[in-house]
Symmetry: D2
Subunit: 340 residues, 4 copies
């Protein structure tokens, strides 16, 4: 951490600041120039609140040199984290494809879709039971019943299930779920993150609409600092000025995250674009930039879906897309998992 002092800082102010900094057990180096003074801090600075430093009257600016996250930091954990889920591995050189409807609607719908995506080659089943919707007048999901239906679909197909939690108070309902998803709107629901940090269950953490990559990693750190190291990051598009697509898919984030952290990274082209015809090319793009997994919305009857109809693939379109994903993932040296 580097602290730049204001032009006319007095000797006494500097001494006070230096003495205040001793509590953090870091080494301080003072560089005195004609026009400004700089303090360089060496050591573990994650405990230092950058705003607290900024608040000191003599401080012109502060900059972190080291990342403020530790558990999620590749520097301290060079090896890829590999998360095992019912025989599939996320982050271990295989590509996982999580497919399924936006919302769980009926038993027939989820079972039919689950069988179809499995047949096409999907390795996990996604489906929403608790649905965060912009309007209170839209379908809010089946809740507990939705989770029960997903468990049935798992029984039938053997596919592990991924589904979203919206509130800490529902956490017991997710006891049998394989991967608990934290949606974009909850990326900084810190109460929820801490509670999930005390579970022993993989968490798929989606990037918020305006979440920076560092904030995403700090949210992962919230989970990890409570004990749970099984965090999967998910790029699902960010909010920008561009109106042509639902969000702007930030595929460059994938290799950048993979350099900064050892956690696996997945991509959700369905929510990122919101446009059926863009899902296949973006899924392929995600594989090419190095994603460990994909999350794709598939519905047995999209035009009558209760939510997100415009961005869900039909089973047959998904099957075509899976063929291309499989071939490309193989080519990239990270084949789609085959637990068959």
């Amino acid at each position: 951490m580097i602290i730049v002092l204001k032009n006319k800082t007095t000797e006494q102010e500097i001494n006070e600041l230096m003495s205040w900094l001793t509590q953090f057990k870091v080494t301080t180096n003072l560089v005195q120039g004609v026009h400004s003074n700089i303090i360089g801090l060496i050591g573990d600075t994650t405990q230092i609140d950058i705003e607290a430093v900024q608040a000191k009257e003599c401080v012109e600016g502060v900059q972190r040199v080291q990342e403020p996250y530790k558990n999620a930091n590749r520097k301290f954990h060079p090896d890829d984290t590999v998360i095992e889920v019912r025989g599939r591995t996320i982050g271990g050189g295989k590509t996982q494809v999580m497919a399924g409807p936006c919302s769980v609607e009926t038993e027939e719908q989820i079972i039919t879709t689950a069988i179809a995506v499995k047949q096409a080659g999907a390795t996990m089943l996604r489906g929403g039971a608790f649905k965060p919707r912009t309007s209170p007048y839209s379908f809010q999901g089946l809740g507990k019943e939705g989770i029960d239906l997903l468990l049935k679909a798992r029984e039938v197909t053997g596919l592990p299930i991924v589904t979203e939690i919206m509130d800490v108070s529902d956490i017991d309902l997710f006891a049998d779920v394989d991967i608990v998803q934290v949606g974009a709107r909850n990326m900084q629901n810190f109460t929820l993150l801490k509670a999930l940090g005390r579970c022993d269950k993989p968490v798929l953490l989606k990037r918020g609409l305006s979440g920076t990559l560092q904030e995403l990693l700090m949210s992962a750190e919230y989970i990890m600092s409570e004990g749970n190291q099984k965090v999967i990051l998910c790029e699902r598009g960010i909010r920008t000025f561009e109106p042509a697509m639902r969000n702007t898919l930030d595929l460059a984030a994938v290799p950048l995250l993979r350099q900064k952290t050892h956690l696996p990274v997945t991509v959700d082209p369905s929510h990122a674009t919101g446009i059926v015809s863009l899902i296949e090319p973006c899924a392929l793009g995600a594989v090419a930039v190095g994603a460990d997994a994909l999350e794709i919305e598939v519905h047995n009857d999209p035009k009558n879906a209760w939510s997100d109809g415009a961005q869900q693939l039909t089973p047959s379109k998904f099957a075509q897309t899976m063929e291309k994903i499989k071939a490309l993932a193989e080519f990239m040296g990270k084949p789609v998992d085959n637990v068959g």
Copy 2:
């Protein structure tokens, strides 16, 4: 609502769509052109999920003409909502000023600050007990103890208290709080919004970092559709590309919101800018564009604050700023409330 059909839509597809629309009890008008067909829907379309329409294969595009919110809509409630809080009125032609520290830290700190802001003319006391912090290693707030300290400060000063809730499970702790604040990160925590909708307590709803104004109003609608009509909106800066300030304060949102909705609108220049020297001019700007209230961070000793030090005013700076706010609010015809 207007539905534009694709170029080669068949008679049968149109009929199917028209018949599907009958369930919503709206009047449909079909305009048939050479190259495209348009269906105009007249009536209450808030129940129609725009995505469900978009998902129909024959649909090229859909556009709402009417806003998707009803309770919050000024068209249906032309008169300003006036919310009474211990003798102060928000939205009733007076300006309220909520001032106090980012975080409640100690009894001495909150009492000292409360007395100081009251003396300067603040009409309510703000202070954080539950703190959403980007890093798990930063101070997370005193929790219940913080609320107890705020209640003491209210006892001493008579100032109503405003403090943030982070999770549904804490709702009982807020029973004696005057205004419950929903922070920017929770603007779309729908579980929390619904729960607050079932309380009889004013809710100060902050706009999310990437929340559109329509989404902010839809979040207000979540609260209102459950029964609680006492919602106060808050503009506190949005996230943009500009790095010079913490956020970009969207002051034009204030008059726009006041045209779209009958709910009162408050402005938080402290979080919006994050820079002490910008708080006074931005507070004055907020009064000039028509804000009903201001939320300003004041700390008895900012340079030793446990959070947000760089953006908190000292009591003496706040007193100077209040003088200008009082004069301008008076000039604008919406004087700062004086419950003395």
Copy 3:
């Protein structure tokens, strides 16, 4: 400027870098820590290309402490720049109001509008002769003829004229224009900026749709470094994710710019919002945050305007707005100029 070196930088790499830095005639201070090394540069660093430093293999990061602009920097020019235009002063404690149509259309239109805005209290006349339009099929402005009509309107009313230049090759046509405007899309048309820097004429430089405040000041620096110190900055809304308004008006930018630079700052609420009913409140907000001038679109017949009809005020609405602007500007201690 602070240079943070990578973890395993060798003595030799450090020496090479230190010796490379000597060419810039700055003092260098090396802080050596256990895990990283820091070089602090003291002196005039504006000539050092931050990217060139970043490119050195041993460099982890670079941060400027001092702003990269000199001529525009208030630190080196503490007094406000005051620009005189035909007896009006911009930046000298008066408020200027530039009003007029988006486009100059006909002699009758511009003369009628000019007389009307003068009568209402405007102090300058704006009007577009060269129009940057998104579509090649939209009206592109009258060009030279438009400037001639503005000159006629000036003859009739005595109001100085402000009009936009789109290309260096047209520069001679602006010889009699009082203030040359550089539009948002040309904020970084560096060839144009340099050419205007060689003129002795006030330049009104608009912030680009995605221009940071520092970039705006660097563009001012382009003009000033060529000799012309008469630069007026203009905040006119930036592009964000919010669709409810044409742009997001960044009013906090006004006090921030006034702290960073001695140049006058104007605000254009018409382009910022694009909505007639928001222009008055936003103009008042601009006065309250400290703007030195306003630019407002007024058309004698907005509903038949050839461009931007939806955001132009009628003369009578403008007259009402001017009354409020005059009163507030007086109240703020920066009265609207009265050259009558």
Copy 4:
């Protein structure tokens, strides 16, 4: 185009509007409902200025159904545009790779780099002679001399050259250049676009930092409407809130553009990310989403480059990257052109 009328529009206002619309030779359909009226326009609406319609007092809202561009629209030109440049084809089922330094610096530098990129498999040579730099104190490019050096490099290697124009007045200097590049900052320099529209030379048009895809296509339309149909679009990252990379690379824009337009699309991962280690994965991502060409910065000695050092590849790193690009492009069915 659909026009929604306000609630209380009178018969007379409707008639006036309908009659005003007749000038555009489109068919109008009026739908009258209880609460609102809608006019649907069928025919060529590109000539109708949406703002002019919006300005009518009785108009609540307007929406285009058809895109406002014609020449660039795939609907009217279903076949891919194929642009031939010295035996290479852009858009014709081959992948082109334009490589070379950010700036042309010296004869030795450009020749060495040109030979190196050719050897590695690049099919064109890029290099900046006129450089748009944020600071007036940074290197501004060699200008005409830079173009001469590029021509020499072409002589030596046979690689076609791509270089940026910054102003109309320089257009004659580009007579021998193979592809004229319009930089991001000039995407809406309409004077320049029109002038290039009157040349018979391929134009590589970069998306502006805050340019929407529709605006990019409208800028292409500016060139095309003047006659020149040889336009190549380039995605090079947009400006968002994310600070970790120079820009946010919008790879989903590639398939979307290819659906909307018949023009070829290229991707510049160097400017998009600004980080050497992200260029290879993003280049591969670009190939996977369907790009027709890549533009990559390569410098024979990046750490001493006069500009953009941090994002330029060394020749050896580029050679490794090219091997992967070639293999993937082949796999995707769009092999890197081999004119050997």
